[in-house]
Symmetry: C2
Subunit: 365 residues, 2 copies
């Protein structure tokens, strides 16, 4: 994947490159579970994809219900607010899912133009059940806009079946490609909204102009980040070879293995497995363990990077990503060994032998 | 450069990566000729950099004078218009520079909030003399916003001395790095405007939030495109080793060599050398030469890609980039050989021996 970035650069309007781009778009459609023609990588990170969705689908004055139970839900709400949307934020504590009943009532309480929801909330590890959210949005005739930055290529998505109107992702999570591109998809309904706006969106994010380049015209809009698209194409080929069902299962097995091992180390996951993202597990610190020291030890002595807690969880938890390439038993075992050692450094000696055994057993189940 | 993208990925908040980022920012300041603290690569292409400049520096209702003499000037005007600016577009024919007197009169004619100008217009090869534009902007108290996508790292820039308030560039032109990042710089005056806006800009482009990540806080804003930043860092090291004065001279010598050879092939440059960009030369087709056929021949038989004409120049010219790594005598000679052969294919036989001699002589001057 990284190696793919070192190929000689083709011009971004070169026929050979455009063929590759077609294939990338086709493979992205398969991952989103959609037939949407408008499915493509935005030249920017996941947040750029969010801006593209918001800039096209939200008009000033739109009433927009946003589920917000972590940093990325808050960010979604903020982006909608900046685009002039009247945001009704349905909040849940960090670590809990958004309450579906509350969301349904908020959607039904007014003329709702759009519903925004984060599928896999990377700041907490909570996975949203999209089914009831989609039903409520549909009943209200609202557009359903989904942040699937962390779930794409880790979980099987069926966005057409659900009725998702627009979604954005990133390349550095379960695709295991470098960060810098944001795969997005827009339904015809979302495009219709985008194209009947009173005021056009910013040039960079304009779906009509993007259609010019990614459609049959291949009209120049921006210089496609050729190297990163090579990397994305290589990543998508890998997903296709593994098969999405097997890939999802691998992510789930790695998460189960991690949790089994954590238990043996007396470490507690923040989110119960039934409503947790398999690709990211948030772990509570036991009393007396210093966050900065713990994570520095992992980085410096074990070359393992875990995320810190965000927002109200800062200092209280650490976040373990097992995404794409990383979702392996080998990585789980290395992580558990490192956790045990780093806890030991802080006077909480934990024997990791049993943890490794439990993890290996859980992985095989 | 491309190889640098294959290094193992560090986390975007890893101290080792943050050190590299500091160095990149410092080297970019040297290229822009600025002490602006806010100098950094936006995660997106040159057009994303343009959006960042516009989103922060233009408020709805601002009167903005935009010099427009090619595709990128038109794009700049369009972006300002979409941001709610009242655009006064000072137009010049494709291939001519914007008339300075006309620009001065437009700036003086009203309360001008900002002046937008393209330094090296890639669609025509015209170079703008920024000095009088900067003087007129300063006299009116307007912000000066500059597109230097194609000039950065090809020409020595002294933006502080000129009084440029914000500028954006790209990585795939004279830096010879892959496309996907947009180096930008904002003066304290531009930041002040950005931060005293009534309405905040889109989240992705917000200078205040970007300062959070690129400043001392290192607060998470977006996942920095780590691989591309490696590539940019490698490119900047190369520029530093060559020295900007030598690099500019190399670009000028390559352009002179190309022009000397074109003359021997009876091909005419669109723009006289005094007001042309050295990194991009636009060449008129002689009567009877088919653009598509000519460019396809270059691509398929000589592995040389030249740009087509844009806007009113479509079909009438082709554009030869000699940028960064590409600005060498060897490339000039290969291009001239290919042009002669491709013209011959279309029945305009041209002997290229004299062209090569003339080019080599001009390169040495």
């Amino acid at each position: 994947m990284r190696q793919a970035q070192s190929l000689p650069l083709l011009g971004h309007l070169d026929p050979a490159f455009l063929g590759l781009l077609d294939l990338v778009q086709q493979q992205l459609r398969a991952l989103f579970g959609t037939a949407n023609r408008f499915t493509l990588p935005i030249a920017g990170t996941g947040t750029a994809g969010m801006e593209a969705v918001v800039a096209n689908c939200i008009e000033p004055g739109d009433r927009v219900v946003v589920g917000s139970h972590g940093v990325f839900g808050q960010r979604f709400a903020e982006a909608v607010r900046r685009a002039g949307g009247e945001v009704v934020e349905v909040r849940a504590e960090f670590g809990l899912p958004v309450d579906v009943g509350e969301l349904e009532r908020a959607i039904a309480a007014g003329p709702t133009a759009a519903v925004c929801i984060v599928h896999a909330e990377t700041s907490t590890g909570v996975l949203t059940d999209l089914l009831p959210v989609a039903a409520a949005a549909r009943a209200a005739g609202a557009l359903l806009l989904v942040d699937c930055v962390t779930s794409l290529a880790g979980l099987t998505l069926s966005f057409d079946e659900l009725g998702v109107d627009a979604a954005f992702s990133g390349t550095q999570k379960c695709l295991s490609a470098p960060p810098g591109l944001s795969p997005v998809t827009f339904s015809p309904r979302a495009l219709h909204k985008a194209q009947s706006r009173r005021k056009p969106p910013p040039f960079y994010f304009d779906t009509q102009l993007l259609t010019g380049y990614f459609g049959a015209d291949r009209a120049y809009h921006h210089t496609a980040p050729v190297s990163m698209i090579y990397a994305l194409a290589a990543a998508l080929d890998e997903v296709q070879r593994e098969g999405m069902a097997a890939r999802e299962r691998r992510h789930r097995r790695a998460a189960a293995a991690l949790r089994a091992g954590l238990q043996e180390l007396s470490l507690q996951a923040l989110v119960p497995i039934e409503r947790a993202t398999p690709m990211l597990t948030t772990v509570r610190y036991p009393g007396g363990v210093d966050d900065k020291e713990f994570r520095a030890r992992l980085r410096q002595h074990h070359h393992i990077e875990v995320g810190g807690g965000l927002g109200p969880l800062a200092g209280k938890v650490f976040r373990v990503g097992l995404m794409g390439h990383g979702a392996t038993l080998q990585n789980v075992l290395a992580a558990l060994t490192a956790f045990a050692e780093a806890l030991g450094q802080q006077g909480r000696s934990a024997s990791h032998g049993e943890a490794l055994g439990a993890a290996a057993a859980a992985f095989e189940e």
